[in-house]
Symmetry: C2
Subunit: 337 residues, 2 copies
């Protein structure tokens, strides 16, 4: 994609993305189906009201990138086991729980083009439903043959929350240095990718160096993903992204293009950009950021992380699975996952 | 206590309650100190902002009844181990996390007479901070020598959330039948007590029957506690309880005295009570509930659960620890724990 060119749709249509993923997921399709089935089974309750809520949020589960990463990493390192299925479900449930809570944070009205759970059932229920899903995910993780998955996912989630808190705390802090921006996105986004990929390798019997390589692979993918997500929030189209748009800037969240722009301009330029941001004058802001090629800068950063992700897989033997994991990394650049 | 008599303070002063607990906690004092120290150590962060938040909510940790129950149950069944310390910390952290999230649900301005974390840092940070504490508690629980504690506490938390969701869903449902009321409080309150007591026994090597007896003990204590909490919300004094008062009725939460009253009166009486409740006319509501002895009824129910809790401990040999656990049960009736 070339986010620097204009504000027109920059992502391939939803359908094309789905087709690409369907192809990338081919080697793990039977196991991914098992993950989906178990996920549905586990999101249930005897109470009719709660059962309906859980059924409703099943839809939050989108492209299942986290379980897919976990399964692909496992497949690349050896044999997939029941532990992979369980932890695939855990990864997706933890992600779902964060989405449910994120909707409260974002005051989002839409999630995947449907009414979000907080708009539907209120913030109180959303908090509790997310808490339930967190707790149940941890419960499920203990069904594995070893506690490594439970330990790593609980550690990852604790870090994820810290990343999100730092993000909220730095709202409207347009002096946020780039390293702190990365601290935040590594926590709030990349950690769960990294842990998923690492655990996939671990439960397929990979040695520590390979596990570490997969952790880094997921981390780099997550960084690239979040940068692309920030970009799409500014330049995507609501119809494509399926969520309320431009909310990052409106909510004062310093994103990478904006951070880059503010580091490039002088005092007057800075004032101009912050004024446009605070007014929600998206058109002016877009023009200013294009002038400093800040979208281009952010896209290049995402590209560099994808390249690192791919290079890190040199620990694997050449072959189909390594090629496929390279393609998965490239896919992050092509659209919101 | 005699909650049916008037609206004057019904709890012994805070200091007296503390003195009673200090005595009840004597046999487990060194271990409780270890729990407190580890709890403080674990609620920390390199990020200054987050570290300050965590330090602030250390104060949420009040009488530490859940870790104390766990330790007392362990002491009654055998030797206390490092597993007990770890799980005591977990019990307290899970409780703290629910308090942090409850403040959002309650829109509470005060918690233990201090500004609540949501009033201080906003709902977003409160959601995330609670999520962090949940995740970290699960992480810590995996430091035990066996995964039983992690499994039981994650199961318990998942049920706790369901109980809370049912409570929100039944707000303003004044046709709530008493059994459903108990479903709700068993989930939202009693499950964590029950699991704490059961795990204390389990990790001291108790057999299944004794573990089950401690689970039931905690469950009955929890039921009694929640009934007393509901009572205190209606008839306590803000200065004593240290949180915003009468909020249950204002928020349309059907409590046991109200449920009982509505089951006793005819259509006209029902209308009168619901009008008073919906207007927040506490004085009228109190008078009506006194007429049907509904506070007395609720207090008697709490008393019956305390009696059951005590009887269930007949599996233990007679002795100091059993006597002390009886006293702990009685204490529930004396005030909010």
């Amino acid at each position: 994609m070339s986010p620097e060119h204009n504000t027109a749709p920059v992502t391939p249509p939803e359908q094309a993305a789905k087709a690409i993923l369907a192809r990338l997921y081919t080697p793990i399709l039977p196991e991914l189906r098992q993950v989906e089935e178990m996920y549905r089974r586990e999101l249930s309750s005897d109470d009719e009201y709660i059962a309906n809520l859980l059924e409703y949020i099943e839809d939050y589960s989108g492209k299942k990138l986290r379980p897919a990463l976990l399964l692909l990493a496992g497949k690349a390192c050896g044999k997939l086991t029941q532990d992979h299925i369980i932890l695939g479900v855990v990864a997706e449930m933890l992600h779902t729980a964060t989405l449910v809570h994120d909707d409260i944070l974002d005051d989002a009205l839409l999630r995947r083009k449907r009414t979000s759970i907080n708009a539907l059932a209120g913030n109180e229920v959303s908090v509790l439903l997310g808490d339930h899903i967190f707790s149940h995910a941890f419960e499920i993780s203990l069904e594995c043959t070893t506690p490594v998955g439970a330990r790593e996912f609980s550690r990852a989630m604790a870090r994820t929350c810290f990343g999100e808190i730092m993000q909220v705390h730095n709202r409207n802090n347009f002096n946020l240095p780039e390293p702190k921006y990365f601290d935040i996105i590594e926590g709030k986004t990349a950690e769960l990718y990294a842990t998923s990929a690492m655990l996939g390798a671990h439960y397929a019997g990979a040695n520590e160096a390979v596990c570490r390589a997969f952790y880094d692979y997921g981390m780099n993918l997550g960084r690239a993903f979040q940068i692309m997500d920030d970009l799409l929030d500014m330049i995507g189209e609501e119809s494509l992204v399926g969520k309320t748009l431009g909310s990052d800037v409106e909510k004062g969240k310093p994103t990478l293009p904006l951070i880059h722009h503010l580091e490039q301009v002088n005092g007057a330029g800075r004032k101009k950009a912050l004024e446009a941001a605070s007014k929600g004058d998206r058109k002016t802001l877009m023009e200013l950021l294009h002038e400093t090629e800040s979208f281009k800068y952010a896209a290049a950063k995402a590209g560099a992380y994808v390249a690192s992700a791919k290079n890190g897989l040199d620990v694997l033997p050449k072959g189909d699975m390594r090629d496929l994991l390279h393609e998965v990394a490239d896919f992050v650049l092509s659209r919101e996952l």
